[in-house]
Symmetry: C2
Subunit: 433 residues, 2 copies
């Protein structure tokens, strides 16, 4: 076959990461899982990947439980009327159309909420605060994010009529952060929203006054039943079909509040541009398979569907890009002991670019994690600088202007270097165990 970069030929611009991100955010925009906009994004993705010279481009549909946003408003009603910037959490239940009103009970942490006696929040609105700070590796998101993931179920058990949380984020704007919650095993999910950081500050100040504190909350999202999402898959076929492919993934869906630029158009731009870059000087030995996963945000459904559909096929190694567009600073790997020399070759190449090899375990991610777990695959992480990431993650502020072209290019260069080494490697890459 012709080199894909040559196939893309006449429109070289369309193959760079920034062009992919720009066009996806401009020509499609938000693409909430299971909606018409996500379907439009799949059509766009299939066309673009074909245009770029990828082979075996296809869309693989799968069903999910649909959910869409409704009206969203909240306010402090006493001791002083103040509007709150609020957004519903993913899979939140709905209040009545006229909303719920009641005492707003402040909990400084999720642990404090857990200690409230069952039934003690009957007719009340729970508020859960936290103190997440920005970190280069984004490490606070796991633990602090539990307020969002578990909070609704716990608050419901205490009898609350609604839950508000401080946005799981690190900014100081009035943009609240959405994100998925665990759907309870039975019963209606609790109406649950996040308020922005300045609003959470205000609630904390008012709660400290020991005056009656009341609020109103109206959130009317609705479940839309079983709807279709889908993965988009494409390949740059290798010279040797006996070599197991490299799987590189991003997710195509986004939350509905912004344009899904850093989460995760950037990941799709990075892996796709890097795959093309790695193949630029000639067809690689090993196939690179690109997965633009559907409905990652609402529960990793694209990654699960991929593992189900492709769990019997060989894979050599998996990589995922889903933490924005800032520079790669660290390389992590989980590989079989006999493949350590290959990992060291990659680490040496990345070191030339200022990227160090860390000693922690790679996380993989929602899009590659299920297949990696199923097949015990080798996993490589290229950790990106996430200091700014949780300022905009899951908010209306996830827009194209947040992409720094220079950092994005460093990212593509790092990915391309790794894919070139892996794609040229003709030995076996073993399960990591």
């Amino acid at each position: 076959m012709a080199s894909p970069a040559c196939a893309a030929g006449g429109d070289a611009r369309s193959s760079d990461a920034l062009s992919i991100i720009t066009d996806l955010t401009t020509d499609v925009g938000q693409r909430l899982g299971g909606t018409e906009r996500e379907a439009a994004a799949r059509d766009w993705a299939v066309a673009r990947l074909k245009e770029l010279g990828f082979a075996n481009v296809r869309s693989e549909p799968f069903p999910i439980t649909g959910w869409v946003r409704g009206e969203e408003k909240a306010a402090i009603t006493a001791p002083v009327p103040q509007k709150l910037a609020v957004t519903a959490l993913g899979y939140s239940g709905a209040t009545p159309p006229q909303g719920v009103n009641g005492e707003l009970v402040y909990f400084p942490t999720l642990d404090a909420l857990k200690l409230a006696p069952d039934g003690s929040l009957r007719g009340k609105i729970a508020f859960v605060d936290h103190a997440m700070k920005a970190a280069q590796d984004g490490g606070g998101y796991g633990p602090f994010g539990e307020a969002r993931r578990q909070g609704p179920t716990i608050a419901a058990a205490k009898g609350a009529s609604a839950l508000l949380i401080r946005s799981i984020g690190t900014d100081h704007t009035r943009s609240p952060h959405t994100g998925v919650t665990r759907i309870p095993p039975q019963g209606e999910p609790l109406p649950s929203g996040a308020v922005s950081s300045p609003d959470a500050d205000l609630i904390a100040r008012l709660a400290a006054k020991d005056k009656p504190l009341t609020a109103s909350v109206t959130l009317t999202p609705r479940f839309t039943g079983q709807v279709m999402s889908g993965n988009v898959i494409a390949e740059l076929p290798g010279r040797d079909p006996k070599l197991a492919p490299i799987l590189v993934a991003c997710h195509l869906d986004s939350w509905d509040l912004g344009q899904g630029a850093i989460d995760d158009a950037s990941g799709c731009g990075i892996i796709t541009a890097a795959a093309l870059e790695a193949s630029k000087s000639g067809q690689l030995a090993r196939t690179i398979r690109v997965l633009w996963a559907g409905t990652e945000e609402m529960g990793g459904f694209g990654g699960q569907a991929y593992a189900k559909a492709h769990g019997a096929e060989p894979h050599a190694v998996v990589m995922e890009s889903d933490t924005g567009a800032d520079r790669v600073f660290r390389f992590l790997f989980r590989m079989a002991p006999q493949d350590k020399p290959l990992a060291e070759r990659i680490g040496a190449e990345l070191a030339k670019m200022g990227i160090y090899t860390g000693d922690g375990a790679p996380e993989g991610g929602e899009d590659v994690g299920y297949i990696a777990e199923k097949q015990k695959l080798a996993v490589i992480d290229l950790n990106q600088d996430m200091i700014r990431y949780f300022d905009w993650h899951h908010t209306p502020d996830d827009t194209l202007d947040k992409i720094d072209p220079a950092q994005l290019q460093q990212n593509v260069d790092a990915w391309a270097a790794v894919l070139k080494i892996l794609g040229s490697y003709t030995g076996t890459i073993n399960p990591a165990g």
Copy 2:
């Protein structure tokens, strides 16, 4: 009389600038001119200024044309559906409840809009872009702000059914910036809104595609007729009633989207804390009169009412704080030639704090400008660093967390130093001419 700081005595905390700003934004919140919230702010202000030991504390009502925000939504409808973050400009007219739809015509500048033939925008929505960048002295706000002030009248003359502008600001968030427009001399004002900077970027990208570009806009603010606003005035009386007072001003009203922290609770905190600080070691010779003006945002009505009510009283010099809470970097003055030694004494004191004397003309501001013009008064500006100011000005993001306590304290110290020199000066301070 007892020193006011001593009178404040038992509650020293309440006299510092940050406490004033914190309590005004927390216990009152937004305070749009002419509304119940501005009246609540006046009550709060009168009580606080009395508690702080000020004399002659009073509220001076005046009528204004009232206006309140309604529903606000806008979207690109073709070539791709994308929501726009929009807010109505002050004194904007209203669309029908169902909104207006039509071609969105892109103008890169206000000058480009001016060149459109009359009637050429019939049934269309005009969009005016601009390229304002952050500047330490905030100098871009005057010229670029004309898109907001003049834009509606010009777009109406071209036949447009609505106007959208890029927010007059320097941030990259989805928070649009409101701000006042000129009410046309006759006829209904045009429905006019600002979209956020990332939305303006999106419009510019789509406009460059040469595909049909259409939008829908729903803005339903309404005029509420004649309503009451008011100024709050208070004094720290000087020892010598024959010496003309120093007038220091901020504005108490705010736009309704945020908490009015940097615009202008901070100004009220700064001038009030500084007046108390300047008097801490003993009553000054000269009276300091504090003006917390009403309804500055919607047209400088508080400053006009002050000039009308107090235009026959003597004033020595005027100063205003209405550009946030960041550090003072420059001193500007307009004083009579024979008072230059006094200005030089002030400049020398400020130089010790790293503040230089500039050679431009002071601006004064909306709250002191009318009385200064009427009486040809001496004017002193303490210019604050405005690099961050237009990120949050007139947006939902104007919240308490934007105040940097260290910079705020430098500001109070600078103001206190100036007020101590002026308040101790027993010579005549002459009209500047």
